[in-house]
């Protein structure tokens, strides 16, 4: 059957390479130009838990994964039990009879095709370790789709080349055995994807895109303490530090992390940190240190369900109001929430410019879904990220006395210097200070300095774009949302707008600050408003309420630790009267 769209899911025990198998499956399609989005689910442990990886492949542009599975690969019984319901009518289940008992399922789901592949036998005859079973499943899947086996072999080779030719060969051979087994058993392909323009695409996560944007923006110092789902940014920086002259520091805790980054930035190097909610909590006092010393800093906050340790490997948008108000005292900061990896890339570039130009903290918010899911893109045009360091001086001519680091300028931005240059001596002071940086408790000075720091907003706000509106202008229903909900909402809209209901989306990538006057009008004009958020308390509607006085009553909220699927948004919208 020719299709333009299909979803494949693999499930098995943690420790059996489910994650790398999923990425390989995604990549064999992006290599040939297909559109791909994938998503992984795994518990916070190394071995023994249940892992799944879902890949959606399409010949056309897609925005999120789908809940209906066309091919389910079950490496254990649990996968069948938990996910057989997701298999679509006429779909396929690949399983091993030595591992899975399918009697009951067969009775319940007569509409599914069952493909038995003796994974365990094949792997023991080959004499390969059990962890390579997933390669057999990849070969079997490729055969079932009548897809290109050579591409699979190339991707496996790329993926395991670090481990030596012996390992590569064994992986390839096991995949070939899976391929042959299914080819002999099945005469016609299950699904055949419509051909696309065979120009390879990139496959990358939101975290990858943040990293790439930061390197392009000239980030020279990156510090972090490992915390899911931010850790892959640390790994990427660590592997690139030699080629790009970056120092990556895995520090003792997140307090050290942010203070190191502040020190590096103060000295003159562009600096970034990333963490999740717990680490961000520890970084809070550091944020205010950056604020009063007017040291630029970019903080990436990859959210996960909290409070406390919460659900470490799952997703939620629960930290938005926390980020907008984080730390003690009143100070200016920018909070950005990209909706997809493309926005992650370009907005990280912009984040560095905003931090430098306004000498403030800039927080970029992702969540586990965006941080760790892969999306396909044509090559990013990195030249579009230009570097603007604002008022940063590399030389000071004035030799008369000390340098006025915090000069009370018209736009509130005082020129800063690269530490170590002559005539630039000053105190970057966490105490309130005067123009030269000396501690100063005088009432008049305090007001001058607070006003100076806040005056930057005038110029800053001009650089903050209003939320983007997607869909028809005359929509009956307007969805309000932010960050990673963008994809599932766009997916839902593409279906809803084929029907009678016309829906559009106001999507916030800049949460704070922005010109709320501009959206007040939109709220009034829209017939029906609904907020879609991955949290319990609808933080975006509170933010809008606080800043415009407008209350959005309709809410579609999800806080199960899982991202939205388009179907859930569609049914939520259909309930709105």
């Amino acid at each position: 059957m020719k299709v333009s769209n299909l979803t494949w899911k693999i499930g098995g025990e943690a420790g059996y390479g489910i994650m790398s198998t999923g990425v390989i499956f995604s990549r064999i399609f992006t290599k040939k130009g297909y559109f791909v989005i994938d998503s992984n689910e795994y518990p916070s442990l190394i071995r023994g838990g249940h892992n799944t990886y879902t890949v959606r492949v399409s010949s056309n542009q897609i925005f999120s994964i789908d809940k209906d599975i066309n091919i389910l690969v079950a490496l254990n019984q649990e996968t069948l039990t938990l996910h057989q319901e997701e298999a679509t009518y006429g779909g396929y289940i690949i399983y091993d009879e030595d591992v899975c008992d399918i009697k009951d399922i067969k009775r319940a789901r007569k509409d599914i095709n069952y493909i038995m592949v003796p994974f365990s036998k094949i792997i023991s005859e080959l004499g390969a370790p059990k962890v390579m079973i997933n390669n057999i499943s990849l070969g079997a899947s490729v055969a079932l789709l009548n897809y290109d086996m050579e591409i699979l072999k190339n991707v496996i080779k790329d993926n395991f080349s670090r481990k030596g030719t012996e390992i590569v060969d064994l992986n390839i051979r096991s995949s070939e055995l899976g391929y042959k087994y299914v080819k002999q058993k099945i005469k016609t392909a299950s699904y055949e994807l419509e051909i696309v323009n065979p120009v390879g695409k990139m496959l990358l996560t939101g975290n990858d895109a943040v990293f790439l944007g930061a390197v392009r923006a000239g980030c020279k110092f990156y510090a972090a303490y490992p915390m899911t789902p931010s850790s892959s940014i640390l790994h990427s920086f660590a592997s690139a530090e030699g080629d790009y002259n970056i120092v990556t520091k895995h520090a003792e805790d997140e307090i050290a992390v942010i203070n190191m980054a502040i020190g590096a930035s103060f000295a003159g190097a562009r600096s970034m940190v990333a963490t999740s909610g717990g680490g961000f909590s520890l970084m809070n006092e550091g944020l205010s240190s950056a604020a009063i010393t007017e040291t630029p800093i970019v903080v990436v906050l990859c959210q996960r369900p909290a409070p406390a340790t919460g659900l470490p490997t799952w997703t939620e948008q629960g930290d938005m109001l926390f980020a907008v108000h984080a730390s003690h005292g009143e100070f200016l900061r920018v909070v950005i929430a990209p909706g997809d990896p493309e926005e992650c890339f370009y907005l990280t570039g912009k984040a560095f410019n905003l931090a430098d130009k306004y000498q403030i903290p800039v927080i970029i918010m992702l969540d586990k879904y965006l941080s760790e899911s892969h999306f396909s893109y044509e090559k990013f045009d990195f030249k579009k990220i230009a570097v603007d360091r604002g008022k940063l001086l590399t030389a000071v001519k004035n030799k008369s006395g000390e340098y006025k680091r915090y000069s009370d300028t018209e736009d509130g931005i005082s020129p800063r210097v690269i530490v170590g240059i002559e005539n630039g001596i000053h105190i970057a002071n966490s105490d309130e200070h005067n123009e030269k940086g000396y501690s100063e408790e005088d009432a008049y000075n305090r007001k001058i300095m607070v006003d100076k720091r806040f005056r930057k907003i005038k110029k800053l706000i001009e650089e903050i774009p209003p939320p983007k509106i997607y869909g028809p202008a005359d929509a009956e229903i307007t969805i309000w949302s932010w960050g990673s909900c963008k994809g599932p909402i766009l997916e839902a809209m593409s279906i809803l707008n084929q029907k009678e209901k016309k829906v559009n989306l106001v999507h916030f990538t800049f949460l704070y600050p922005f010109d709320y006057e501009s959206i007040a009008g939109v709220i009034e004009e829209s017939n029906k408003n609904v907020v879609v958020e991955n949290n319990k308390t609808s933080q975006l509607s509170k933010l809008i309420m606080m800043n415009t006085g407008h209350k959005i009553k309709n809410k579609i909220l999800k806080y199960s630790g899982r991202q939205f699927l388009s179907g859930e948004i569609i049914s939520g919208i259909e309930k709105i009267e």
Partner: protein
């Protein structure tokens, strides 16, 4: 680093700065008789003896009476949050390892709220100098116990006397991997100056525990108290200061006596030595206006 020629300056012969040139427009606000004066004077003299210019030095300060010194010494300064001077200094040093980086903070800052940073900075062996102003009391918050206060010490927060054992910062630095560990006394500025000078010259992380009487809130650890108890390790025969267990043993065996001087010093590779990416030039000297990431992007195909 200080021993290496700095390119920003023409030559040592032209150097004509005096300690007073490191004064700012502000005069110290410490209590009369405060040990901070001795440290302040020793440090300025040391800078002159080492031929350092104010702009070649970055001092990162913690919070406390010593931290207020940010206003009184003319160098680049970062007055950090309480306990966070070490990580700020680390970041600055890694961004520009040509800077001479010095950290000043109190005992509460260093082994109380910032204790974790202290341990890890010691083991990193970054080429910086940390001067701990140890007055065994929280002075700026008007007299509460400190992690280094002696057992039984009565303060506003421990009216019945301290129940915990004191932390010995020298011992902590030794076991945490610092490569230069010394103790000085704010009352003998000549000696203090010598060990500060050697600390700055030391290539690696140098730590000095400075016994600093607080004349207002600590009536127990006074100038006289220390004068009676201290002895200079240089006077010991057969003391091998490059032997870690000897250093630890000496620190442990003190009964009523306090060793001062360089207690431990070894030469080991610094953290910076391990970073190839800063071998040619500091991070801050790279031009970042057009970083070509094409090669990186290709990794995602």
């Amino acid at each position: 680093m200080a021993s290496k020629k700095n390119k920003n300056r023409s030559s040592k012969e032209d150097y004509n700065l005096k300690p007073g040139d490191f004064n700012t427009e502000r005069r110290p606000t410490w209590c009369l008789g405060c040990g901070n004066y001795g440290i302040w004077n020793s440090l300025k003299k040391t800078f002159v003896e080492l031929g350092l210019m104010p702009h070649e030095i970055l001092i990162v300060y913690g919070i406390g009476c010593s931290g207020n010194g940010a206003n009184f010494i003319k160098t680049y300064a970062f007055h950090a949050l309480h306990g966070r001077a070490l990580p700020v200094a680390t970041g600055a040093k890694l961004a520009n390892h040509k800077l001479n980086v010095i950290i000043m903070g109190g005992d509460g800052d260093g082994v109380g709220i910032g204790g974790n940073h202290f341990i890890h900075t010691c083991r990193r062996n970054i080429n910086m100098t940390y001067l701990m102003h140890n007055n065994k009391v929280y002075g700026l918050t008007t007299g509460q116990t400190s992690p280094t206060s002696d057992r039984g010490f009565k303060t506003k927060s421990t009216p019945g006397g301290v129940l915990e054992k004191p932390v010995d910062p020298v011992l902590l630095a030794l076991v945490s991997g610092a490569t230069y560990v010394a103790r000085g006394f704010a009352g003998t500025t000549g000696h203090l100056m010598e060990i500060i000078k050697k600390a700055i010259k030391h290539e690696g992380f140098s730590f000095i525990d400075i016994l600093q009487p607080c004349v207002t809130f600590n009536k127990q650890n006074t100038y006289d108290f220390y004068r009676e108890k201290i002895y200079n390790v240089d006077e010991l025969k057969d003391y091998n200061r490059s032997n870690l267990s000897e250093a630890i043993n000496m620190e442990l065996k003190e009964e009523g006596k306090i060793p001062v001087g360089i207690i431990y010093q070894v030469k080991e590779p610094t953290y910076e030595d391990g970073l190839k990416q800063i071998e040619r030039k500091p991070l801050v000297d790279h031009i970042i206006t057009d970083v070509d990431i094409n090669k990186l992007l290709n990794n995602y195909y």
